[in-house]
């Protein structure tokens, strides 16, 4: 059954909320009372329930199936997290109420900070960034503030970024007036010390690396690279999107990282919610710690205090209203305490094990751009194995939908032709991985047999077949209108 938009179901005089209205009201609105109708449709509660339940059933979800999106870490989202985030003492707490009445919340933030710092081996943390990309801004701002303190902000305007980086990296750098300078990875898929050395210079503010990188490989030259960058007067920003491979196993601080964001909604499963909210706390090395944004926590004896203003210190300022995604902190801490340090390490190991298991189970029928070598928590294939079949990477992905799977990440990283990046995470059982392998092998065999239409016409069993994205962009219709 089709589910029309609310504007075709609701009416402006219907409401699913009963509100006792004030008997008489003499407005004190100056001359600013609204006179015109808004046009907002209302639904009675049963109508709303049905509308949204029906919409939900048109979505794929990790609860209903494997979600092998490389670089996105779609893992199990425990319901305990949702439950504790809704405790009245957390959910019904105002960010500006007296800090003396919110010491439990501050203690929670302190405990989360302790975990994040210990897991990463870093010195300070900014909890306020609202998502990974916001964390990148935060980290780069701290770097720029440090350069200002050194008097080099005006001269160091270049940020080194590998071609394989997430789009947010160059976008964040550019937003702050940095010029991204691309560094190439070697034939082995990782950045070499030499490539970095060649790109370094007195104009370089920082390097932005993802490690493990977006090809699923550990940047094994990382320590040397960090040393080179530091020697050249730059800072090392690490994109933490892939922390899921090494949490509890190795510490970014030991790698020489100066700033790194952590995606609480990925690594710590808070969850993703169809596109957010996320949460991107940033950890800092000792060198950058003084420049961390407000607010930050101070312990004063028994009491915790959230410092909300610069107080003349070196903090680079405020990134957002209030203190960050507190509801997400509660969820992340529940997740972290549930695992413990041992469980987090085990989760990382299982994630890496599962990715390599898929690699081993598929390496005879799919192709790997950097040869058959160990991967971290995600495995990267390219489209060579589809050559001559008439099936493109996109078609292959869409055919997976008909088999009941969300496709892997495709066409990313950009450095690999027809990239297919698979991240199973530690949440899948072996049974689930085996079924996934069997499905992919069946599809590949089908492609090789020339059953092209199974791919080019896919998906056929989804709530929609392929959508005309070109038409959508050509003549954008961004809101409903009558008729």
């Amino acid at each position: 059954q089709e589910e029309p938009p609310i504007f075709e179901i609701g009416r402006t005089d219907t409401s699913g909320v009963d509100i006792e209205e004030p008997a008489h009201l003499e407005p004190r609105l100056g001359a600013l009372e609204r006179k015109e109708p808004i046009g907002l449709p209302g639904l009675s509660e049963p109508e709303a329930m049905r509308h949204y339940v029906r919409l939900s059933r048109k979505n794929y979800s990790i609860d209903a199936g494997l979600y092998p999106l490389g670089s996105c870490t779609m893992k199990h989202n425990p319901r305990l997290n949702e439950k504790v985030a809704r405790l009245a003492g957390f959910a019904d707490l105002h960010p500006l109420q007296p800090q003396s009445t919110a010491q439990g919340a501050l203690a929670l933030m302190e405990e989360l900070s302790r975990w994040l710092l210990t897991l990463t081996g870093m010195s300070a943390v900014a909890l306020s960034p609202k998502a990974g990309a916001h964390g990148e801004l935060c980290g780069l701002m701290a770097i720029e503030a440090a350069l200002e303190a050194r008097g080099e902000a005006a001269t160091r305007k270049v940020v080194l970024i590998p071609q394989s980086a997430h789009g947010t990296n160059p976008a964040s750098a550019a937003l702050l007036g940095f010029q991204p300078r691309v560094i190439e990875a070697g034939a082995d898929g990782v950045v070499s010390e030499e490539a970095v050395a060649r790109a370094l210079g007195p104009d370089v503010a920082a390097i932005m690396l993802t490690n493990p990188n977006t090809c699923g490989l550990f940047e094994r030259n990382i320590v040397a690279i960090a040393r080179r960058v530091h020697e050249a007067g730059g800072y090392f920003y690490c994109d933490g999107a892939n922390f899921n491979a090494i949490a509890g196993v190795a510490r970014p601080g030991d790698l020489g990282v100066d700033a790194m964001h952590l995606n609480l909604h990925k690594t710590f499963s808070t969850p993703h919610g169809g596109g957010g909210p996320g949460s991107g706390p940033v950890v800092f090395s000792e060198r950058l710690a003084p420049f961390a944004p407000v607010p930050f926590l101070l312990r004063e004896g028994e009491a915790l205090r959230l410092v909300e203003h610069g107080d003349g210190a070196q903090s680079f300022g405020r990134l957002t209203a209030f203190h960050g995604q507190f509801g997400t902190f509660v969820r992340a801490l529940a997740y972290i305490l549930s695992h413990g340090a041992d469980g987090l390490a085990q989760a990382s190991r299982d994630a890496v094990l599962s990715a390599n298991y898929l690699r081993a189970a598929l390496r005879d029928v799919m192709t790997q751009p950097f040869g058959d070598r160990l991967c971290m928590h995600e495995v990267l294939f390219d489209d060579s194995f589809l050559e001559g079949t008439g099936v493109a990477t996109l078609d292959f992905a869409k055919a997976m939908i008909d088999e009941g799977y969300h496709p892997m990440t495709i066409y990313f990283p950009l450095v690999v032709h027809g990239a297919m990046l698979i991240e199973p995470t530690e949440s899948e059982s072996k049974r689930s991985l085996d079924l996934f392998v069997a499905t992919l092998r069946d599809l590949i065999a089908s492609a090789k047999r020339g059953e092209t239409r199974r791919f080019t016409e896919a998906p056929r069993y989804a709530p929609r077949r392929r959508l005309d994205e070109a038409a959508a962009a050509r003549k954008p219709v961004l809101r409903w209108s009558a008729g």
Binding site: N59, G343, R464
Partner: protein
């Protein structure tokens, strides 16, 4: 560990299939000196019961709005959220899905975002809206950057009624991006002359209404002044419920409207996650930051929705993107949209009237408290009091009596010399007894 499905037997089989002897072999690329060879100084795994106990204990150390007469606003507001909203956003298919990159199996998310965009545009009297930002403050900063791109100027004027956090966020990003900010002095009674500050170098003027002190502001003349000088008017709100009772920013000539959407569908949650709303004119489409959902058709000609104009976005355009935002606030936007669908126009108007009535009632009760003065000539559900002495100390004293009384202006503006001002909000959730308790506690604390 209850969240990890692999058993030791599975792990052994899998290692065999890979051809490695132990798990360490899988980390061969990691320099061995970097691998942790000892347990971190952190606790081990805990049962669900134990975690719940620990977190509940932390929660109990907070004085929650549920357990006290509550009058705090200043950018985040307590409202009643229908039980169905929270139920629906916890549907697995909403809660545990990713960004809708595969539209064929993401129509649920895409359609509700399309509906959300429409609702936000309607509410603000604007042509289009995006699919949400992180929160009101970051949306406000994005609006200024957007105005800079559109006007190709780099100077923003900030009203003295703008929420100080919002101004701070704008100040931070502008500093690093090399843009100019002219921030007017705190404007407690909405008497600033903003138009005279506008000239042809100005990219945008950022004005909040209701402002942080609760005053309502007519934007019409500011919009005219902006447009005379080729600048844009960025209208800001922190209390979206006010739009049920107030003239829309669009009607008053705003070019970009941004605001905080928390009030609908989203709990206070000590400051986040919230959601930023951003609406603007169709002509600024390609300079709009963030995700946009568009209507289209599928291969069978059926109506459907896709993420569109992503050529603006960071994952395609990289360093040329209109913003770096990727993950936004979808689930909060869903909560917002469900709550607003349930309210509908009639319900939103009633809700707004109930809020206004609450605030009026409290203002009137406070008229009888000697030494306390309400500064506002107009207000929606929030207003500013001048109190004898230090407002922050007063708030602490009232908290000790179990009343959460409001936000001292010094909390937001510590150096402005406005320590005797208190921002007080009253919503539909307060009862007459709560308001009487406020008055009694204030009398007691003064």
């Amino acid at each position: 560990m209850r969240y990890l499905p692999l058993t030791e037997a599975d792990r052994t089989q899998m290692r065999d299939a890979i051809g490695v002897a132990d798990i360490a072999a899988l980390y061969a690329d990691v320099p061995s000196e970097l691998l942790l060879d000892r347990p971190l100084d952190l606790p081990r795994a805990k049962s669900e019961m134990e975690v719940e106990r620990l977190l509940s204990a932390m929660a109990k150390r907070n004085l929650s709005a549920a357990s006290a007469p509550f009058f705090i606003g200043a950018g985040a507001y307590r409202h009643h959220i229908p039980a169905s909203v929270d139920h629906l956003i916890q549907r697995s298919e909403f809660l545990t899905s990713y960004t809708p990159y595969q539209p064929e199996i993401s129509q649920g998310t895409l359609q509700y975002l399309f509906e959300f965009q429409t609702q936000v545009a309607m509410l603000n009297g604007m042509e289009i809206a995006n699919a949400s930002m992180y929160d009101g403050s970051t949306a406000c900063a994005e609006a200024a950057l957007m105005a800079h791109r559109i006007t190709k100027r780099r100077k923003a004027i900030l009203s003295g009624g703008l929420h100080p956090h919002y101004a701070d966020v704008l100040r931070t990003i502008s500093h690093f991006a090399g843009d100019e900010i002219v921030a007017l002095a705190p404007d407690v009674r909405a008497r600033e002359d903003i138009t005279s500050a506008i000239d042809d170098s100005v990219s945008c003027v950022v004005v909040q209404t209701p402002d942080v002190f609760g005053n309502l502001r007519d934007l019409t003349s500011i919009a005219e002044a902006c447009h005379r000088h080729g600048a844009l008017l960025v209208a800001v709100f922190t209390e979206v419920v006010s739009l049920g009772l107030l003239k829309s920013p669009g009607e008053m000539g705003a070019d970009i409207v941004v605001g905080e959407g928390q009030s609908l569908g989203n709990p206070l949650s000590f400051g986040g996650p919230y959601l930023g709303l951003l609406a603007t004119r169709q002509s600024y489409l390609r300079q709009t930051p963030g995700r946009l959902i568009g209507e289209t058709v599928d291969a069978d000609g059926r109506r459907g929705y896709v993420t569109t104009l992503s050529a603006r976005e960071q994952h395609i355009r990289r360093d040329k993107a209109t913003s770096n935002i990727c993950t936004n606030s979808n689930l909060c936007a869903l909560a917002f949209s469900i709550h607003l669908s349930l309210l509908g126009e009639a319900g939103l108007r009633r809700l707004a009237r109930a809020n206004h009535a609450s605030a009026i009632d409290l203002v009137d009760r406070l008229a009888g408290v000697a030494g306390v003065e309400t500064l506002n000539e107009s207000f929606f559900n929030e207003f500013t009091l001048r109190v004898p002495g230090d407002a922050a100390r007063l708030v602490e004293a009232m908290a000790e009596q179990g009343v959460l009384a409001g936000v001292p202006v010094s909390r937001l503006l510590p150096d402005a010399g406005l320590d005797d001002l208190l921002i007080v909000a009253s919503t539909e959730v307060d009862t007459a007894e709560d308001r009487e308790a406020f008055v009694a506690a204030m009398r007691g604390a003064l």
